[in-house]
């Protein structure tokens, strides 16, 4: 395979899942329409969700899920050591995702609540970049297959993929959707990185920020707007903290335990 005369190598890729719902890996396996093209472009070394063949000679690791146990830390470090490029896929891997909601409570209380006195290994919820160096992040809950393929094309050609630097509003407006604020629904679209084609606002749900904060988002003004529009602190906190997308933004009200 050549592109503009440059010989392209089929990258050897592998997929790994950590603490998460495997929805992102499923997005990749799903929509079989382009599966043949994808398999023509990459060599899948290991993809446990759909294949029992496995080979550790991969160059690119796509990693889903957050890291919550020491065992996972070790496994992730091994993957990092092998992979030339490590891509975090999905909100859990990129942001901590919904898993982080339990961080509002102490770990022992959490284990007690779900498992009683049974011994269960667990730890704090971490996104991948808190444990290893991550080369690229493909956000979303779940990721979009189109964007995954877009990233793969970049990796094959050896060009750095650059996610949109504009917020979800742009895509929402481009789809000529009614702004959900007009319908009285809250939306994190103005401060969230685009790329999902504004799928949640289009479904009258408002955005929850699963793709993380857009560069240089104006949170002060945004939170002010939410308050002016009559959204309660708790409502704001629930939406803004749902995917842990805006952690560290001090103007955002925190979710209580």
């Amino acid at each position: 395979m050549k592109y503009l005369g440059i010989p392209l190598e089929k990258p050897k890729v592998a997929f790994f899942g950590f603490t998460g719902c495997e929805g992102c890996q499923l997005q990749i396996a799903n929509k079989e329409e382009t599966l043949a093209d994808l398999l023509g472009a990459v060599e899948v070394m290991s993809f446990r969700l759909i294949s029992s063949d496995k080979d550790d000679g991969y160059d690119i690791a796509f990693v889903e899920g957050s890291i919550t146990t020491e065992g996972e830390v070790e496994r992730l470090k091994k993957i990092r050591a092998q992979a030339k490029i490590l891509v975090a896929i999905g909100a859990c891997a990129c942001l901590g995702g919904v898993n982080n909601l339990r961080s509002r409570f102490p770990l022992d209380e959490t284990i007690q609540e779900v498992y009683g006195n049974h011994v269960i290994e667990s730890g704090p919820v971490r996104k991948l970049s808190e444990v290893v160096t991550v080369d690229y992040e493909l956000p979303g809950c779940p990721i979009s297959k189109a964007e995954f393929e877009w990233l793969v094309r970049h990796v094959i050609v050896g060009v750095i993929p650059q996610l949109p630097q504009y917020p979800v509003c742009v895509e929402c407006k481009q789809r000529i959707k009614t702004c959900v604020f007009d319908m009285g629904i809250m939306c994190m679209g103005p401060v969230t990185r685009a790329g999902c084609n504004a799928i949640c606002p289009s479904n009258h749900m408002g955005c929850w920020g699963c793709r993380g904060a857009v560069d240089e988002a104006n949170f002060e003004s945004f939170i002010e707007i939410l308050r002016e529009r009559g959204f309660a602190e708790r409502e704001i906190a629930e939406r803004a903290n749902f995917f842990n997308a805006f952690s560290g933004v001090d103007v955002i009200p925190q979710l209580e335990g």
Binding site: D37, K173, C179, D182, P190, N218, F222
Partner: protein, 347 residues
């Protein structure tokens, strides 16, 4: 300009006739706002009853029928190193009914850039030339300031333009195509009564403008108040979300994007409408940003609308529809911004 009248019944028949063989777009409602009011959009009409001619305002402008948010510019077939480029402009004839004067005037401003200026845009031409526009007068909303912008009356840029005079429409005919279509539906010559009715209707509309924006010295103001704090005041509220430009009937800034498929055998080049309020609008390789702050970007949107375009084409780009003001969550709108600039000037 030729004028005729057509009965409302015949108008309906005319549209139904047009719908038989062509795509006809018009205002329809899709959603309701929190208060239960209808929210309108220009959408394809499947039958006459879907059309809501007494619509208030579409939140997004019909400009995207001429400048789609994403438009294919070229496709490529790629070989190992060679490639072939393929370009098409084919647009099937279509009709837009119910456009307001301001939106028609907005198109005329786009015409200046896209058709009359250097490097006429063939994609726009194709869309423009293959679209029949049937305009319609309406009473202004509270916040419309098209009158201040001289865009409340459409004199050109349409095929037919209707004014409601009771049980019939008073029709201005702007093109031969318009003339031919109209005449198939028993259009009548204008009587003296019609003329009186027309004047009355026009006066009625005129009397209803509530919002005024004093734009006489705005081009100069833009220069003089270049360093004004007004920009920071509004800029600090701005979310840099680009919504204003997306809904504006005249904003036309764009970026190009190229994509290759997974088999590396096909590629596309597309044009995507962009907004000068977005962070990376003027960012160059290496990360230098010529417009790093939201207030600077906001200022340039106004600068282009109210000064740059005047320098180039002797008219403001803004037509005063206030869509940007409605779309902006932060409540930034031309009237308030310009009023602010004028007031600081007076101080």
């Amino acid at each position: 300009m030729l004028y005729k009248t057509i009965s409302k019944d015949n108008f309906r028949k005319m549209l139904e006739g047009l719908m038989e063989n062509n795509e006809v777009m018009g205002p329809r409602w899709r959603d309701r706002d929190a208060q239960g009011n209808k929210i309108y959009r220009f959408l394809k009409l499947n039958n006459f009853d879907e059309l809501e001619l007494d619509y208030t305002r579409t939140y997004s402008s019909p400009k995207n029928f001429f400048l789609p948010f994403k438009e294919n510019l070229a496709t490529y077939k790629l070989g190992d190193s060679d490639w072939e480029q393929d370009i098409h402009y084919t647009i099937h004839p279509r009709v837009i009914v119910g456009m307001r004067a301001c939106d028609i005037n907005a198109l005329r401003k786009l015409d200046e850039v896209m058709l009359k200026s250097v490097y006429p845009n063939p994609y726009y031409s194709a869309r423009r030339e293959n679209t029949i526009i049937i305009g319609l007068d309406h009473e202004p909303l509270e916040d419309c300031f098209c009158r201040s912008m001289g865009a409340d009356v459409a004199l050109r840029g349409f095929d037919l333009f209707l004014t409601d005079i009771g049980d019939k429409y008073f029709v201005a005919i702007g093109s031969d195509t318009g003339y031919r279509i109209l005449n198939q539906y028993d259009a009548q010559d204008v009587t003296e009564d019609d003329q009186l009715e027309f004047k009355r209707a026009k006066q009625e509309i005129e009397s209803k403008f509530k919002t005024q924006v004093d734009v006489t010295i705005v081009p100069e103001l833009m220069d003089l108040e270049f360093e004004s704090e007004v920009w920071e005041k509004w800029g600090d509220k701005c979310l840099s979300c680009g919504s204003c430009a997306m809904v504006c009937p005249t904003c036309y800034c764009y970026g190009t994007e190229e994509e290759v498929d997974l088999t590396f055998t096909h590629a596309t080049k597309s044009r995507c409408l962009y907004s000068c309020n977005l962070l990376d609008f003027a960012m160059v390789a290496g990360g230098h940003n010529f417009r790093p702050d939201s207030h600077i970007r906001l200022k340039y949107r106004y600068y282009h609308q109210f000064r740059g375009f005047v320098e180039a084409f002797n008219q403001s780009l803004c037509v005063g529809c206030n869509r940007c003001g409605v779309a902006c969550l932060a409540g930034i709108n031309p009237k308030d911004v310009i009023d602010d600039l004028i007031t600081t000037e007076k101080l």
